[in-house]
Symmetry: C2
Subunit: 489 residues, 2 copies
């Protein structure tokens, strides 16, 4: 029987070691968010389905997990109610007719009736659906809902962070989960570019603390719009960035060929040349862009924004490289200003952090004029990168610092007094609860990676001391409780 | 439109201030759990429905939130499939008959057909249900499932803690939520009473840190069994404890009358007198119980266990009172040894923590012989108690420590340099992102309860200093970056 137990596909248990590592990641991010004045909120896992539906496109809607109270499978209707409704509505609509003795008949053939009843059942369910619940799909829509619901209590600009799981009924596959954490920070209610600057400082600080070398890529939706404007191909901007991105791999001729294939005219391709070949420092790139985009007001605005962000950050001196990258085009329909993405330099893995500025976050909930900018750290990928580079600080992932071996009742009574002092000093300490064989107790210390054990026997009790053993070196010595604490602190 | 937005009944948004308070509670509990060598795990919110069903009694099963992937409302069946199945099965079972022209008839009257089809639809859904998922209802069953699934990786005794939300489709009411956090710690795989002792130390330490004065009530299931044995009324143990509990309020005669009413014989009531009147110190109570329970092996075992736990704790010196209380009878069907419950002394509220020892945690998943003991802190009630007694430490719930006022671009450039140093020193600091009116910026500081603001103008920049203003006293003075850091650290 035990072998049949499982957890749903795409979900995970986190063991103590994984939890320590994950806590290290979340605590680091949380601490840096706080340093910058971001405040934590939490929203419920369950949202009204009406809050979630229609916010993530048709594909997203399909990936929503829907929740039903037990006994009420159809929103407002229970099974029984649904069926009664079905019969009632069928009679009302004339699909079924009652004749003598409460028997009934239908004038339709079975296929037609089947069709009619199917449509009816779906309609009935839909009516109930409005009042159903779903599991949140991301943290952005619940945040927008939060801002609207709490707008009278919030002082804007509102700098919030949120670290909670989200759920997606995606096809589970390597590295893609149906339940996973997001770690978002957003500022809403301020158009100032200082927000973009500070978010980049946050990214820089977090990865510096992790010891992960990264490249921060930055772009601006307005620059992309400007490019589309000047070449008169507004709808081809994705094709263009995809092609440009291949320059290093396939060379200029092939890039131009690809652009032609995508239906971009020769004149436009000619205008695109300085952009495809854009290189040099960020400053050099901005100079080129200013020339190329001279005729696009929007494009120049994007250049100006990027200039401010990059020059301010240069003065502040980031630890990591930041690069203006025109091929960065994430979530085009969503973002309206700066866009960012972070790549690890020493590990081959996709983007490990991303974000950008968006207008009108809360418009869909009836509150307009709230723009914002945000970032999201990809905790699962950061977890993998830290593992691959072996960057977890020992003290962050270690658990119990010392195990007291249990030699029996009298020794335990003595040990418990010392243990209380050790714990009062903030040292994570255990006593093996049973007076098991020494081998078993030492095995426990080893498997939990506990670096020290304390032994208390007749001798130690007589002297009022304990024996402290270093599990790595094997070295052991007799110490007082005070010395023990000093050794372990 | 905005006014129609809501969150599901029984769920909550947590604002920044609430989050700070909740984090203070969880961090305190987490820290104390770690001090005692407990390690954190997390399990997914989604469990197989088969893992959850049948574990919480009939009532509990009804309170499970069931989850359906989008488009598959009935486990394996979509709406359309369900309906086709319904028609097919109806034909197969003869509820419906096809006659000429694919028309169909039924020989049943409408009510009977309705009944038959209802049963059928439920049956079809149930068949799909086996492969559905549910939201976890508590942390105990997922923990048991975890232990069984990971038994080969776990070193026993396994001391784990878990702080995660759970969901119950309960009727929402004041203080009862459909989504709430539990904070559990359990030791499994050890019968040693030291585990009970340490859990009581944890309770004592946590509430001492909170500054909440509590009384820890302790009892033992075996003592209750013993009492039932000696009076020959094994099934009346709940009636007995309920009646005894009323002694202070209604007096001995009325307690005895109530026992008689519940069908307990005169002889049994006579034997119960010393237990009803049990008083004095824990030691005195244990002496009496030893006499009364002399003929019950189980009862004496319970007394002996309580004696060990209480005397060990006495030697260790708890800060809070611990009391042997025979009227404590929580979860009788579940617990098999010691039972605990914690009451706040200065606030009228139910139990704020509880737990006990149980046998055979994992038997239901096919792994027998795993007993354990655990506690669970009631975070929501502790939150209320701390609020009512105003016990949150200021530094724990405060957020940003200093706000830099924004006077414009040049001042910002200067401020950002100081800000970077301040944050590098670990001080939570913000700059107002827009150069808004002074009044608005000061209002922001006030509403976020930020205790200090920094002002940077022409003067300050010339001197290379900043003006630090204490928002409470109104006092302000010119300081260097270094002095600023020293002031705020």
């Amino acid at each position: 029987m035990a072998t049949k137990i499982s957890i749903p596909k795409g979900t995970r248990d986190f063991s103590p070691i994984e939890m320590n590592k994950r806590n290290y990641i979340f605590d680091t991010i949380r601490e840096v968010y706080s340093l910058y004045g971001f405040q934590q909120i939490e929203t419920p896992a369950l949202e009204q389905l009406s809050t979630l539906m229609g916010k993530y496109g048709e594909e997203g809607d399909k990936l929503l997990f829907k929740i039903l109270d037990s006994g009420s499978y159809f929103g407002d209707f229970s099974y029984e109610q649904l069926f009664s409704q079905l019969i009632k509505e069928s009679l009302r609509k004339g699909y079924l007719k009652i004749y003598k003795n409460h028997k009934f008949k239908s004038n339709m053939d079975l296929n037609t009736l089947d069709q009619k009843l199917r449509a009816l059942i779906i309609d009935l369910i839909q009516r109930g659906v409005g009042r159903e619940k779903g599991l949140r799909y991301d943290l952005t829509v619940p945040f927008a809902r939060y801002v609207v619901m709490h707008r009278d209590e919030i002082t804007f600009p509102f700098k919030r962070y949120q670290i909670q799981p989200v759920w997606r009924a995606d096809r589970p596959q390597k590295g893609r989960y149906r339940e996973f954490y997001q770690c978002d920070a957003d500022v809403v209610g301020s158009d100032s570019l200082l927000n973009e600057v500070e978010l980049m400082q946050i990214v820089d600080t977090v990865f510096t603390r992790f010891g992960i070398r990264v490249c921060i890529k930055i772009n601006n939706r307005k620059i992309l719009t400007g490019i589309a404007e000047i070449i008169g191909e507004a709808d081809k901007i994705v094709d263009i960035t995809v092609a440009i991105d291949k320059l290093d791999k396939i060379g200029l001729d092939n890039v131009n060929a690809e652009l032609r294939e995508k239906g971009i005219g020769d004149e436009a391709i000619a205008k695109l040349q300085p952009i495809i070949l854009l290189s040099g420092t960020n400053e050099e790139k901005l100079v080129t862009l200013k020339e190329v985009l001279a005729d696009s007001e929007t494009g120049l605005k994007g250049v100006e924004e990027s200039e401010f962000i990059l020059s301010t950050l240069k003065n502040l001196g980031l630890k990591n490289e930041i690069e203006l990258d025109l091929t960065l085009a994430r979530g085009l329909n969503y973002y309206t200003g700066a866009i960012f993405e972070v790549k690890a330099l020493d590990v081959q893995i996709g983007s490990i952090t991303g974000g950008g500025r968006y207008d009108n976050l809360t418009g869909v909930f009836g509150l307009s004029g709230v723009s914002g900018v945000g970032i999201s750290f990809g905790a699962d990928r950061i977890f993998d990168v830290l593992n691959q580079l072996d960057l977890y600080p020992k003290e962050a992932v270690n658990a119990t610092q010392v195990l007291f071996i249990n030699f029996g009742e009298k020794e335990v009574a003595f040990s418990m007094q010392v243990l209380a002092q050790v714990r009062a000093a903030g040292i994570r300490a255990e006593i093996f609860p049973d007076a098991s064989k020494m081998k078993k107790q030492m095995g426990y210390a080893n498997s939990k990676n506990i670096p020290f054990v304390v032994l208390v026997g007749e001798n130690e009790m007589n002297e009022g001391k304990v024996t402290l053993k270093n599990m790595e070196t094997g070295e052991q010595r007799l110490v007082t409780a005070q010395e023990l604490i000093e050794e372990l602190c």
